[in-house]
């Protein structure tokens, strides 16, 4: 129990750190974000003093409050779910835009993570089992190379090959918004799958190596355990020894990795979404960076961080639950 409480305290600390960073980064940065924005906006048209005033209010720079008062106001706003207004879609609240986009990210990332996890674990198990065969000696370096490829570049190549040259998949978007209305229709779902296929494939390819190599290394260690030798000696079938004896114990590092990957779904595919112009949170971030929509950038960071922290906490608890050694060691 002491272990659990310590972990909870730690995560409270981490959430506080993230929120505080989010508050201080804009205030520590050199230059004046309002002036920068006004400069940017005045190239497109005249900026009235009222607009300038609104911008200052949005950045919380209009007040003569001390930093502390500003900080507590900011915390209060956060507790009310008030993350500020977007500049690109003025005056839509940021939280509303994120709410629309996050569903796309979670769907795309969720499917990709599950596929990649299952496939990666299976490949790792087989690769370790068939160790030193041609399969294993080919697979490991190949996977190693795959993991070194910058995945946004892989995404570019995929897009070029399959969408531009072969014309199999659309070049951008989350669904065919010109012809199809969103809804639970066959057409819409088909269109969504068609649009999500390439981004998902990229995500699977780029994350496969991690699952596989972790599984392989863990499996190799497990295979040299006595109980595996014993199981083999008893003449149990190969599949039973492989999955029920070895893999079941070797999968532990990957299970916690899986919980963390679930949290990374929200923010782990930023670049893939950007390349495919997929209407998720990553694409929203790209646009926010291009438009210098600071409230949006900060809020997206906060949402991603909260998701990651939540998942890490879950992974921690899961590990404590699954591996009694952790519990005993730390509470002792």
């Amino acid at each position: 129990m002491r272990h659990v409480i310590r972990r909870i305290l730690f995560y409270v600390c981490a959430v506080w750190a993230a929120i505080t960073l989010d508050f201080f980064i804009p205030r520590l940065a050199p230059g004046d974000p309002v002036a920068a924005l006004v400069g940017k906006m005045s190239t497109k048209g005249y900026v009235t003093p009222e607009m300038k005033q609104t911008l200052s209010v949005m950045f919380g720079l209009d007040t003569h409050d001390s930093l502390w008062v500003q900080y507590f106001k900011y915390l209060g706003n956060l507790l009310h779910g008030n993350l500020g207004n977007s500049i690109q879609y003025f005056p839509t609240p940021v939280i509303q835009i994120i709410g629309q986009d996050i569903g796309w990210s979670i769907m795309l990332g969720g499917v990709a993570v599950v596929i990649s996890f299952i496939l990666g674990c299976l490949l790792g198990i087989i690769s370790a089992w068939k160790r030193n065969t041609a399969l294993d000696t080919m697979l490991s370096p190949a996977m190693n190379f795959l993991s070194a490829i910058p995945y946004f570049w892989l995404a570019l190549i995929m897009l070029f090959l399959f969408s531009y040259l072969l014309n199999w998949f659309p070049l951008s978007g989350g669904y065919d918004s010109a012809d199809i209305d969103p809804g639970l229709t066959f057409d819409f779902i088909g269109s969504v799958i068609q649009h999500a296929f390439l981004p998902a494939l990229t995500l699977v390819i780029s994350s496969l190596a991690g699952w596989m190599l972790t599984m392989r290394n863990s499996m190799i260690t497990t295979l040299s355990e006595d109980y595996v030798l014993m199981a083999k000696a008893k003449g149990l079938s190969e599949g039973r020894v492989m999955f029920r004896y070895a893999a079941r114990n070797a999968v532990l590092p990957n299970i916690t990795g899986f919980a963390i990957a679930i949290g990374a779904i929200v923010g782990g595919q930023l670049l893939t979404e950007m390349v495919f112009s997929y209407p998720g949170i990553g694409y929203a971030l790209l646009q926010a960076v291009n438009q210098q929509d600071y409230a949006m950038i900060q809020s997206i960071f906060l949402i991603i961080t909260l998701a990651v922290l939540g998942a890490n906490f879950l992974a921690d608890m899961l590990y404590t639950f699954l591996d009694p050694r952790v519990r005993q060691e730390r509470s002792a």
Binding site: A14, W153, L156, Q298
Partner: protein, 321 residues
């Protein structure tokens, strides 16, 4: 790969160095170990050759370039030819020249940032691990918090607020990624701090900083080198990602900024493969080279991962016993 020779433990120099050696001898020893690792493991050899190639190109390549990477011309979006080996951009810049100059930027900022990152994590890890007490508590808390905060989104937020340029990116990456390596080194230091040679050094009145950096640090050198290599892979990838997002200085040619301009100009929709394939391929090959080195180091450090017979021999012994 199966024929690969792995140094037998008896013939290889010890990775953990004897603390009694004088400093130059230790340094020589490190070089010797590095050289042996490079020549005996094929993975490390191939990886080092790849990385070495990029370093040489980055150092000397630009001297052979006759075309200024930022010079525009009237030859727009020309496919690769003898005069423009990798074609030109939409404003007529020579992509091959950009790539060579970009190699200099990307490789050296990447290696430099990797080095700084390693240095920072060495200091945090060793100081925390050696001193213990409240210093360690504070540093460990900082490390762990930094570990759970998502690095790329934080880097994007930071880079978006600060002035564009290589220095910003370097500092941002430094700030968001030092923790992992620091944690590894801290636990290693914890296990070393009560060894006899450290206690002896303390008893003979050596200065604390000297104990940390001249007695303990050399014993962690293998770990630090492995950490440096994997950190550098990560730095190169993150660097390219941030520049691809437009958070770098677009006027300085680098692999990431070539990709950024290609994306901005719609190179993909226009089928200008010669614009966006080469820089990404360079990143991938350099990354593969570095991870080959790392794989080799891992195998030397953890015998169980080696692809040879020693494990089977061990097993049969166990079976006999």
């Amino acid at each position: 790969m199966q024929t690969q020779e792995i140094p037998r433990p008896a013939s290889a120099a010890p990775i953990a160095l004897l603390p009694s050696d004088p400093l130059p001898a230790r340094f020589l020893n490190v070089l010797l170990v590095t050289w042996r690792a490079m020549t005996t493991s094929r993975k490390v050899a191939v990886g080092s050759a790849i990385v070495g190639f990029f370093i040489v190109v980055g150092l000397f390549g630009p001297f052979f370039m006759t075309i200024n990477p930022n010079a525009t011309s009237h030859l727009f979006i020309a496919p690769p030819s003898a005069s423009h080996l990798l074609g030109t951009t939409v404003v007529g810049e020579d992509i091959f020249s950009q790539l060579i100059y970009g190699t200099r930027t990307s490789v050296f900022w990447g290696l430099g940032t990797g080095l700084l990152l390693t240095l920072l994590s060495v200091v945090v890890g060793l100081v925390g691990g050696y001193f213990g007490g409240w210093i360690d508590d504070v540093l460990t808390l900082l490390t762990n918090v930094s570990l759970v905060l998502p690095a790329l989104p934080l880097a994007i937020v930071l880079a978006a607020y600060f002035p564009r340029g290589p220095l910003t990116i370097s500092l941002v990456i430094l700030f968001t990624n030092w923790a992992w390596q620091a944690r590894v080194l801290r636990s290693q230091t914890l296990s070393l701090r009560n060894r006899e040679f450290v206690i002896a050094a303390r008893a003979s009145g050596e200065h604390t900083w000297r104990i940390i950096f001249f007695e303990i640090f050399p014993n962690e050198l293998g770990l630090v080198v492995a950490g440096f290599v994997s950190t550098t892979i990560f730095v190169v990838l993150t660097w390219a990602a941030l520049e691809f997002l437009g958070l770098g200085d677009g006027t300085i040619p680098s692999w990431g900024s070539i990709l950024y301009w290609a994306q901005q100009a719609g190179a993909l929709g226009g089928g200008l493969w010669w614009w966006f394939i080469p820089p990404g391929a360079c990143i991938a090959i350099l990354g593969a080279g570095l991870s080959l080195i790392n794989f080799g180091i891992d195998e030397i450090a953890d015998p169980r991962l080696r692809p040879e017979r020693s494990v089977k021999a061990g097993k049969s012994k166990k079976a006999v016993a």
